[in-house]
Symmetry: C2
């Protein structure tokens, strides 16, 4: 193998491929990136237990004088290309053990691995795509993925469920304490009901940049392949049936409050500074429980009490309210803040149907986005 | 105590006082900030085993309707004031157990500690100052402090030594493997030879901002007080005699190389990507040893060899050279990079006097700044 290529082209493709490198792996070969140069194309591949990524570079700057293939240590290769300043980079397979990287007056020799040891990556064949607006799809992920579970106890909840029914694509994520759901209309396509590991989706959103307009989805039995520009990004699917969450979402509400989103986030962040938390997880806000009260005089108050430090209280002025009863409800400040941040709307509504019933949040400008939070019992 | 104050004034003073809060302490009262309001001034004090900080606020926005004193939980108090948006803040000591913070529609109640339990802070009396340009003094610290030892084995080396002799102030820091030294002329003052904990100096540089023009130093037997604007920042001094380092710095050089500083830093950073390192400390570059060679053809090369990953090599074009012999010298890449970053000069010189002798770095525009690095033996 012997080729030259524009450094920036190589680097931006390596950044994409890096998403498929494992953080830990029992298979050392997977810490490598497979390079495969034909007469015209440079393919780069990475793979871990969830994700496989392949890019196909045909950039005008790419000049391949000798095709070939090899597997280079991924992290070192990327670090070197990232640190190099030169415009053009030469990659040369000097014999079967060394890849030489030449750039200006620098020469880097990396011990390579045997490409024959690299596992065969079976990408789904590119037939019958579901074509979506890339930006819209990336947004669905961001609006839901944070609500997926990080606990491996119920593996199916560590993913985001995508259900296509009658032209509606519904994305749902829940960790049993909160739920995020978004619905969009999509082109006609076979019905499906799949659950994608949330880690895969987070990695995917990191490589969908603004110049990508459309993204093609290809589905197999247990895999999903995203294809855009010169990238194939494939993820495994989670086994098992995703729980039916439709009954969880209340439809009728006794109290509806509207707030300016940013003001509410600020007030909740301030109050939660004093909320009691698990010492082990001091930096997380998981355990920072706050209380929201609708008082008889219709003043809205959020508050917290911390036996060891003190109390915090903020009065809120809602931008709208439709209140039929008093209410005191306790919940995780972090869950509320993460839910609120998923909205683009300036004004959001919180819809309550009782002190021990889940409440839901909607945004005036966020069509078909529902965030649900389960309250905790207050002592 | 009952007072109102502009939030930004309070916050910027709290940021200064926060430098004296201990990260860990056996004395819980020291996690607090002491507030002491007279008819006209609000004093805030913090203290740990090394540093005591006192600010004296007399801002026009400060209105004290009731003098008093208390000790508030430092971290929580600062977090709350930082998160508040309102322009004006009211602090009110409701009874002997609670400080109430009121801001717009928020009310925060902090359990306070007994001010009588707060240790008496003896600040050096403000007589006979050594007055220095604040920016110049801050620069001396930054040019030397990184070279101080982080090991407690030789406590005196964990500080920066300041020696005043015949109107020259010489700052020296060394961890026995490298040394940083800077000399400036100062106004006439008694000779002194003191060693200041480097942690104290690092905290000090964080509060010397650009609007501080002069800084007054007051010296006692075992303490040093820095006074600027409305701040008194006092640190203990390190016990013991600082080693005489003057003999360590070579005066004659067989080989002098000049480089563009940024190009050299870039090349060293690239090469050190591949240098072997202690697995335990993978993120530190301490153990990344690189080699610099002056070859017979006068080409300068820096390189490294890593048995498990590969080799790296960069040829450097010096901007000047005065070479009398071949040379191969090994040293820590991190030490070289930290030393180089202490210079403002675009062009620096590296001055060698042998393969097993320390080499020194100077900058054309950095008068009286010397960085010295001890080589390591190459196998």
């Amino acid at each position: 193998m012997n080729l030259t290529i524009n450094r920036e082209v190589l680097l931006s493709n390596l950044n994409t491929v890096s998403r498929g490198l494992p953080s830990k792996t029992p298979l050392p070969i997977l810490t490598g990136i497979k390079l495969y140069a034909t007469e015209t194309d440079l393919f780069m591949t990475s793979s871990n237990s969830d994700i496989s990524v392949e890019v196909d570079i045909t950039d005008a700057s790419l000049i391949i004088t000798e095709p070939g293939q090899t597997v280079v240590p991924g992290k070192f290769f990327i670090d070197i290309i990232r640190k190099i300043n030169s415009k053009i980079i030469n990659l040369y397979l000097s014999d079967d053990k060394i890849l030489v990287i030449r750039a200006d007056r620098g020469e880097y020799k990396l011990h390579i691995m045997d490409p024959l040891d690299y596992p065969q990556i079976d990408l789904i064949s590119l037939e019958n795509p579901l074509t979506l607006d890339a930006n819209k799809f990336s947004n669905i992920i961001k609006e839901t993925v944070f609500a997926a579970s990080s606990q491996e106890k119920k593996p199916i909840l560590t993913g985001v469920n995508f259900k296509n029914e009658n032209g509606d694509l519904i994305a749902t994520a829940t960790d049993s304490f909160r739920l995020a759901q978004k619905k969009i209309s999509i082109p006609e396509y076979n019905d499906f009901n799949i659950t994608v590991p949330s880690k895969s989706l987070e990695e995917l959103t990191k490589v969908i940049d603004n110049d990508i307009e459309i993204i093609n989805l290809y589905l197999s039995n247990n895999k999903l392949l995203f294809q855009f520009k010169n990238v194939c990004f494939q993820t495994r699917l989670l086994d098992g049936n995703y729980p039916d969450t439709s009954r969880l979402i209340p439809r009728e509400f006794s109290n509806v409050l509207k707030f300016n989103k940013d003001e509410l986030i600020d007030a909740v962040e301030r109050v939660s500074l004093l909320s009691p938390r698990d010492k082990e997880k001091e930096k997380e806000l998981t355990y920072s429980i706050i209380k929201l009260a609708i008082n008889t005089d219709r003043i809205i108050e959020i508050s917290t009490t911390n036996a060891s430090v003190g109390d915090a209280k903020e009065e809120l002025i809602p931008t709208g309210l439709d209140v039929t009863s008093q209410l005191i409800i306790g919940f995780s400040a972090r869950y509320l803040i993460e839910a609120l941040r998923s909205f683009i709307s300036t004004e959001i509504s919180i819809n309550f149907s009782g002190e021990i019933r889940p409440f839901i949040i909607r945004g005036e400008k966020d069509e078909n986005l529902t965030q649900l939070i389960l309250p905790v019992r207050m002592d």
